[in-house]
């Protein structure tokens, strides 16, 4: 909910009742006067009403109707008041008031303070789970992996339990006598255990139903996602192909581009080009396949095999640039099939680009020809790598590039 000040209750209520937000806020403030009703109402709605706007079209539209890919979830709503800080400040203020009162000689029963603090702290910790914004923050603090909500609930229960036991100790009038404490703990634990046993089957069934429903929803959204993708890309490409049916080169190019995109999408665990040499290489291949054609004007598919992977560095970037030039040469001057092999080892990156053309005589190329000499061989050699071209009329041309790994080798993922 946008425009929230504290918990967003007033904003949500105004959206629900279609009233201006200031009016709702004013009503809350006025309602505080009779015995703090407004405050209690506010707290009650804060903890019980889930966050989010049910009228928001992005959440109401059923997945089955959706024709677009899964929508991005809303950005975490901005909260103007740092609630945690305010809470801490209030606590400290209360402590200060208490201390001042003690100094002034006001008879405050300090024995109640500690148990009550425990109790309130535990409750606050546990109930904070209901606030989605708070939950997100806790998860981030915990690094996302640890079940932060569970931890918070456990801590809250523990704190509140200690508080309750201490209160019981006070009520029994025997202070913190171990016997009373033990009795209180045993009694409360047995009550909890009894209630737990009675409610367990119902709880289990509830959890199972929830799980089933979640799976069904996940499947539904996946189906919608697939439908969306097929519609957006594959169907449109097929329509384009039909329209260009007499232009076979164009049809082949579109079919190849679509195939590549679909593979990219199906095997979605592929990393982004900026984090992986293999993905960077695929981007290079895609660019060459899309923009270059063979000597006869037909598009050429490149057969790519990649072994290993690691994050890119300066050397790998230079190697990929040289690979691109070699690929362009192979596609435009050679003869398909064009093969590309990249091997990522701990000590080096190795690339082979091969075509089945008639080959050419490297020595016959003048030193002034920039293509092969500078953009492929020079680029790699300047970075400390080795590069060589073997070419013969029978076996085609093969460009072999090796780039030693600079710096410490990073872990190799497969």
């Amino acid at each position: 909910m946008r425009g929230r000040w504290v918990g967003g209750v007033a904003a949500a209520l105004s959206a629900h009742l279609r009233l201006p937000v200031p009016a709702v806020r004013l009503a809350f403030v006025l309602l505080v006067l009779p015995a703090g009703v407004g405050l209690w109402l506010y707290l009650f709605w804060w903890v019980t009403v889930p966050t989010g706007n049910p009228d928001d079209p992005s959440t109401t539209r059923p997945a089955a109707m959706s024709r677009l890919a899964a929508r991005q979830s809303l950005v975490e709503p901005g909260r103007r008041l740092p609630v945690t800080d305010v809470g801490i400040a209030l606590l400290m203020l209360a402590g200060a008031v208490l201390l001042v009162a003690l100094r002034r000689g006001v008879a405050v029963d300090t024995r109640w303070v500690l148990p009550l603090l425990f109790l309130l702290g535990g409750l606050a910790l546990a109930w904070s789970q209901l606030d989605a914004a708070q939950r997100g923050r806790l998860q981030r603090v915990a690094g996302g992996r640890t079940p932060a909500p569970v931890l918070a609930v456990l801590g809250g229960v523990l704190l509140a339990g200690v508080g309750v036991v201490l209160v019981v100790g006070q009520v029994a009038g025997e202070g913190l006598a171990p016997r009373v404490l033990a009795q209180a703990v045993v009694a409360s634990l047995s009550v909890i255990a009894g209630v737990g046993l009675v409610l367990a089957p119902w709880w289990l069934r509830l959890m199972r139903e929830l799980g089933d429903e979640r799976t069904a929803r996940a499947r539904e959204s996946e189906r919608a996602d697939i439908a969306a993708h097929l519609h957006d890309s594959v169907l449109q490409t097929l329509a384009l192909i039909r329209a260009h049916a007499d232009d076979s080169a164009e049809v082949a190019r579109m079919a190849r581009a679509q195939e590549r995109e679909l593979r990219e999408w199906l095997y979605a665990d592929r990393p982004a080009p900026s984090t992986s040499v293999a993905a960077g290489l695929r981007a290079v291949v895609a660019e060459v396949e899309d923009t270059r054609t063979g000597p006869d004007g037909r598009p050429v598919a490149v057969d790519v095999v990649v072994v290993g992977d690691r994050p890119p560095d300066d050397g790998s970037v230079a190697l990929l640039q040289a690979t691109r030039e070699a690929l362009v040469n192979a596609v435009t001057h050679g003869h398909p099939p064009v093969s590309l092999y990249l091997e990522v080892r701990d000590d080096a990156l190795e690339v082979f680009v091969r075509d089945r053309g008639e080959g050419f005589d490297l020595e016959a190329i003048g030193a002034d020809r920039f293509g092969v000499r500078e953009s492929i061989l020079g680029r790699v050699r300047r970075r400390g790598g080795t590069a060589q071209v073997t070419s013969s009329a029978q076996r085609g041309t093969e460009v072999h590039l090796v780039m030693p790994t600079s710096g410490d080798p990073t872990e190799e993922s497969s």
Partner: protein, 218 residues
């Protein structure tokens, strides 16, 4: 050798079956077709073809696809050999069919004569590796210096020669070109490839088992 090799086509798309049938040359005779797991197992037991061209993703059965077909025909693995034919380049698809006993893996982008060659090779008891399968093998068995096998019966590592052969295949070399490059006979190349296939099927190497376990293939 004059007798054409009998082949069973298993693919759930009639269009693909027709295309493959048309691309195969005279050295190969298509004796039947099947479109799902149960039909394929039945056809293999009735026709006893020399080679089954098997799609990895198939409907029917228990949802196990091509691997389930191979598993259903384990009693005939001496007579009938399986060659996986798929558009997929996902490692788990490859490993699933190879580990249950397929003798090779080629992609559907393969041209007719090469596919016929592959069928003949599989019928002759050899293994057929596409560049992508070779790349996958190198990925699974590791490419660093410490990953070289020192003895022949080691299952978890490739020997230096086997790795050299795999690298050449991954670079797009045909068996003949590999043989020329390494100054060995084509027969020796086939022996190396079959040895790699055996390691791929029997190895407990982490990567293989991890993939398989993650996809619940084992």
């Amino acid at each position: 050798m004059n007798e054409p090799v009998s082949v069973l086509l298993v693919d759930d798309h009639a269009l693909v079956r027709a295309g493959v049938r048309a691309s195969l040359d005279a050295r190969v005779r298509v004796v039947g077709e099947a479109a799902d797991v149960d039909g394929a197992v039945r056809a293999v037991h009735e026709l006893h073809p020399s080679v089954v061209l098997l799609d990895v993703h198939l409907p029917g059965g228990d949802g196990g696809g091509g691997a389930e077909v191979v598993r259903g025909c384990t009693d005939l693995l001496d007579v009938t050999r399986f060659l996986a034919l798929s558009v997929s380049d996902a490692a788990e698809d490859v490993v699933s069919v190879i580990r249950v006993g397929a003798r090779g893996y080629v992609t559907k982008a393969i041209d007719g004569p090469t596919l016929s060659d592959a069928v003949l090779r599989v019928a002759g008891g050899d293994a057929v590796f596409s560049p992508r399968l070779a790349g996958f093998v190198l990925d699974a068995f590791g490419t660093s210096v410490g990953d070289v096998a020192t003895t022949d019966d080691e299952l978890d590592r490739l020997s230096a020669r086997e790795r050299e052969v795999m690298r050449l295949i991954a670079r797009g070399y045909s068996y003949k070109e590999v043989a020329g490059e390494l100054f060995i006979s084509v027969k020796t190349v086939e022996t190396h490839v079959s040895a790699v296939l055996r390691k791929l099927q029997l190895s407990n190497r982490n990567e293989l088992t991890r993939w398989a376990a993650a996809r619940r293939l084992l």
